[in-house]
Structures are given as structure tokens and as C-alpha cells.
Symmetry: C2
Subunit: 435 residues, 2 copies
Amino acid sequence: MVPHLTTSLTGPLRELERQVLDRRPDIEHWFRNQWIEHEVPFYSSVDLRNSGFKLAPVDLNLFPGGFNNLNPDFLPLCVHAAMSAVQKICPDTRRFILVPENHTRNLHYLQNVATLKRILEAVGLDVRIGSLIPDLTAPQEVETSAGEKLLLEPIVRKGNRVMLEGFDPCAVLVNNDLSAGIPSILAGLEQPVVPPLVAGWSTRRKTQHFHAYDRVAEDFGKLIGIDPWFINPVFSQCGKVNFAEKEGEDCLAANVEFVLNEIKEKYAEHGITEAPFAIVKADAGTYGMGIMTVKSVDDVRNLNRKTRNKMSVIKEGQPVHEVIIQEGVYTFETVNDAVAEPVLYMIDQFVVGGFYRVHTGRGIDENLNAPGSQYSPLAFESDCQSPDCSGKPGMAPNRFYTYGVVARLALLAAAYEVEALVERASALEVKAANA
Amino acid sequence: MVPHLTTSLTGPLRELERQVLDRRPDIEHWFRNQWIEHEVPFYSSVDLRNSGFKLAPVDLNLFPGGFNNLNPDFLPLCVHAAMSAVQKICPDTRRFILVPENHTRNLHYLQNVATLKRILEAVGLDVRIGSLIPDLTAPQEVETSAGEKLLLEPIVRKGNRVMLEGFDPCAVLVNNDLSAGIPSILAGLEQPVVPPLVAGWSTRRKTQHFHAYDRVAEDFGKLIGIDPWFINPVFSQCGKVNFAEKEGEDCLAANVEFVLNEIKEKYAEHGITEAPFAIVKADAGTYGMGIMTVKSVDDVRNLNRKTRNKMSVIKEGQPVHEVIIQEGVYTFETVNDAVAEPVLYMIDQFVVGGFYRVHTGRGIDENLNAPGSQYSPLAFESDCQSPDCSGKPGMAPNRFYTYGVVARLALLAAAYEVEALVERASALEVKAANA
């Protein structure tokens, strides 16, 4: 089943899709050359919004947690892509520790870990699960939502290596977004760690990602001759906010105004009659925590206590001080009248699948990946690399291909971003060594 | 549907499959390292024989012609693998000329060309078909077995480039096995040509491939601790044979005797009670032409005229002077009592699918890929990289995985072989330049 796009497809997105299909050789050629110059992240997922007149990424996760939601028919795609990723990053690897999130009560997440483990095993790796749960002293068996058993084992540090009981891995694959900071047990290892620890949310910032995405969208816009705004949400940021203490409200108001005005101008330029809105979210965060929709400056003035509490902490109880104010992109795709948002999964440079978050209880201007947001996943029924170029825009394979292209643009931005993070970390190390 | 293996699986193959499954991390690790050191062919297909006690490649095609026989569900695997292949070999490519075989009456082959074209287009290449048909002066439309239209265009040479009318390609992909020799129009091009022209049958020899395979099988046997014979057919060769003139019969008889004796010894060593047989085939050839089954030395003495005629020429009317005498491996897989032989397809380092040649009218010791051999293809129902290691040997995913491993061993041998061919060609060029 393919979601219905509630806007008529006569608008700019139809043109975007046509442009993407027509310029496919140039687009794929451009990507090939980008991946020679830039190291592609091991894996990632991208949340897209499709408003019919705009198709844009709104978040990129470097520790994707929904492999279990992909169409099982396309798991072989994941396996081949992971073979490629492993060969590029650590060909001499035979044994992986997979380091998941600590929340063992999220059985769907555990199913993601089981799926990821199975993919890596199909690549031909021995995989065991090394947990960061602080009070885990002995192996603990947990059961996933599909009833699979997983053994979580305590990670043991010996010198500059980590291991599990009787298992000395060649590499560490992190599936924990490190919101609580870089765990000292994983710092300074001689074993390769992918993604690099600086890609975790203690050092990563959404605004850095979208700065990088600005460059990518601009280059891509030039390549295929489109206004990059059609694939790029306007954004701004505030660096010193404290919702609990009502600090930073002026900065927030000014930036919300700036973003809303930018959207208004673009809407006017392209004849779009919808009401602009913006999303305020924690600059370092995930799991849809610390997010609010704003439609006017008033919405960030005089916030009530409940909203201030909601916005002030995110995952692992981390306080929010930096926020991104991002153009809200309407979600105009629906499945049986429920709002549906595409999420694309990538391993290495390959789009390996995707699914829709389908949610009846949410609006077209809300975030569907929020706590308590019990969306049901709807796996893409086909892959994202088989467009029918003689067919019409809006056909499922063509829409999926276009999604895949935009998702890969976000992936490229993530590559720029991680490069910069790694560079900065090395520079800091050199500085510290010379101090 | 998975063919039934008519031997009981209690013999050595069950052990081989168990060994392969158990040593998967070592095997995949070994392959990863091999592909760092050796350039993998762009694409290939491998004919396997599975006798229940032995599983071995008997031929490797560097210009595979049956992409249309693969399970269409796995075409995305082909696309991703081709993305990888294109990126490795010629990332700066946007336009490909695809050069097919000249036989436009084989509609199934044309469907292969159409499938290949679609795969490359999904990679994001502009693809047009450049034909070597000598009297083709204007574009000619042909129809494939599935009713698709293909436009064959005459190749035009300008200096050191080839092009089609209004189409200057960045690279040439050859799907013509060059049995008739290297066409001068493709020689010495500045555009990349894949596979290299020296991989065609005018310079390639099966015996060179199997010499390379000897090395691979030996290394692999050491890696997982098996007698390499279980995956490697014994072979020998005769260099000066003329079936029409009854020349070279003594050489043939001596080598048939040698091969049959080797098999007898191995059968005795492993307690196998089947009757040994050998296959005599043209050392440079394809399409199953010039092939005979021999069970004793007498079978090559006093050949009748019909057999001599059959053996003396192969495709494109090329005379046969060199032959390979290869251990015959029984085909003990059947589908509804018809003999079934697996053929595996690879693009880049990835096994992208496979099918069975199913033939009711042939014996278990005959070649199913022969002229007039109207086998029906039965696509593999699952991929070759998703074994269920906790499951039993003989289960479909495990059998397919083992097939994939053996096919990749043959692929590695082809990589060695093509490296040697390219090296020899360069050495000859240097020699010619210095002469």
C-alpha cells in the first residue's frame, strides 16, 4: 500500500520529481563522485516530510533504531550494503560488539537490535551484544517484541580494548546515540568504533547537520536546476535557552519570527497558501523529545509550566540549552486518513528500505516520532532505486526513488558533518597534548 | 521451489555445508581481504554441479547472458551491486554503450540484454546498445521474448573513441564473449572497456581459469579444513587436437585416462561408488558447443564422423584445437524428476541471484547448457547471503549460501585469471613497442 498524497500533484513537487527522474544520470554520477571524496556513515535513517509542494529531510539519525520496521523481503539489500560498509571501514574484522541503547523495556527497539544482529551475521560476522547498562554485572537474556531472545553482556575494558567474556571483538558498532555523553569505557579504544563516538548527541548538533545540508542542497539545486528551498527547510538556532528558568525567550521569539518570515516569503514566491509554522526542538536530541510546534511568535512567549517542563529535558534527563528552530513541513501523505511520514534507512551509500510512520491521532503539523506516539510502521513495498522513468511522477517507484535521492542528500550532509566533528576532535586532542 | 537432492545428504557434502556455515566469519573475512588485493570482474555467471558428495564450478562466464532468468524480486540486489561495480571501475561515467552478442534471433538472450539495460539505468546511467553486427548500417529495432523493444545501433569509431549517433559514451560494457576475436573497432579505446577485451574467448582459456581455481580451492581448503577436491574438478588439457583430421587422439586418450584415474582414486578414498566420467570440451568456448561426455578411454578412440564434426567447431565457426578434459561431476538435483543445475549470477563481489537449468530430456552426466537444450530456468526463490546457521545443512537458504561461496571462489579465480591476461597483454605491447 502506498500512502495517498492529499495535495493534488500538480504543484512544484511534481516538477521536482520530474527533474529528479530526468536528471538521474547526472544525479547518480554526482553521488558517485561525492562518495569518493567523503566517507559515508556506516548506517543512518532520515525522517522526511512530504507536503506535496516540498519534500525535505527534517532529521537524520546516525544510530538508526527501526531496522525491524523494514520490509523483510529487502533484508538481502541490507546484507549486501553492510558487506560493502564493513569492507570499507574495517575489512579485517571478524567479530563485532554491537552496543545498543540501554532501554530494555522498549521491545520494538530490541527487535531492531535483533534484526541488525541478523544482518551483520549474514555479512559473516560473529556478533555479540555489549551493553552499557551501568549495573549489568552478568549476561542478561531479554526478549524482543517478536519473541526473539537476545543476550546482553557486560562490556569489559582491558587496556585499550573492550571485550566480552571469552570474546575479543575486532570492532565496535554503536547503536546507542550517546545522549548521556561518551562512555569512558568506549573512549580511546584501539579497536575501530563505528560510527565515531563524536557522532553521538553529546557532541553532535542538529544545526551543524543542517548547515552542512545547506551546502548539499545548494549544490544539488544547481545540479538539477531547482530552488533548493524545495528540499531544504529554513532553520535558525538559539544557544542559551533555559525553559525551566524562562531564559532565552527573546532569542527564541526573534528566531521564530525570522524563520516564519522566511517561510512566508517563500510561500508567497511559490504561490503556496498554507499557514507557515515552525518546529522548535532540542539541538542535541532524539526520540522526539523536547519538540514543539509554533505558528506565531506568541506561541513561544509566556509558555505554561507544562510546556516548559516538556521542553526542558530530553532523553537520559539531559537539560536542553540549545535549540533549533526549523521550518515546519506539512505532512500531506495519508494512509486511511491517518497521517503518514516516510523514514528512509541507509547502510553505506545505499538506501536499503524505508517505512511510513502512520498515526491516526496526530495532526499534519506535528511530529509523529514523539514519546507516547504509538505510530504503526508501514514498510515500503518496493525498493528506492528502481524508478520507472517512463512513468508518471507520483507513481510508487518514482516517489520512492525521489525519497531515496533526498535521503541520500541528507546522508551526504551527515558525511560532511561527521568529518568536521572528527577533525575538531583531533584538533582538540593535539591542542591538549601540546598544552 | 527448491530442487530435491537425490542422494541422501549424509555424505561429504553435508559436512562441507556444515563446515561452510560454521566457518562463515572466516570465509567472509577471507573474501573481504581478497577483494582488497584483487580487482573483481564487473559481472559473471558460474555453472555449478552438485552431486551430493561434491559441489564444484564447471564453468565461469565473464559475459553472462541470463539476467532475465533471475528472480525479479531480487533485481534491486543487482542494481545495488552494479552501483558498486560502476563506482569502483569508472565513477566518472554517465553514459554506457552496452555491446551485446550478434545473434538477434535468440529472443531470450535479447531479454537478457533488456534486463541488463534496465539494471544499468537504475544505477543512473544512460544506456544505449552498440551492435557489432557487421552489416548493420542504421539503427534496428528488435523485440525480446517478453515483447520489449530494443534499439540496436551501429557503433561508430572516431579516433580512439567509439560512439553512437548523437551519443558519446564514457564507457563500454561488453556482453559479447568475443569468440570471433577482438573486434578492431573496440581495440585501443581511450574509453574504459569492461570486462577487458582480453577476457574474451579469443584469448581466454578454460584451463587458465581452472589453474587459477586450483590455487583458490587449495587456499580455501586450508582455510576451512577440507580436501579441496570436494569443490574442485580434476582437469587436464590437450593443446593440439584436430577432430576433423583425427589428430591428437593419443594426447586425448592419455589425458582422459589420467583424469579418470584421478577421479577413481578420489572416489575410492572417499568411499564413493558412482562410475567416474569426464567431460571433453573446447578450451576456448561457450554456449555449450564442442562438448562430450566420456566414461572410458575407448570413448575418445575411433570417434565417429558425427561426433568429430560436433567437436570440431564451436560458436562463430571457430575451429577447436585446444581442449580441456574435466572431471565430470554428477548432477543429483532434480525438480519433478528433471535434472536441475544451479547457475549463479554475480555483479561486482556480490551474488545477485541464480536459477536452475531444468531439463527433462538430459541425463545426470550430461551438459544441460547445450545447443538445442531447451532447459527451463527456475529462479532461486531466495538470495544467497542469508543462511540460517542454526538450521540444518540442505535447507534452502543454507544450500544457496554454500552455492554462493563456491561461486565466489570461481569468481576469485576469474579475478586472478583476468589479472594475468591483462598483464600478459601489457607485456606483449611493451615487447611490440620495443621491437
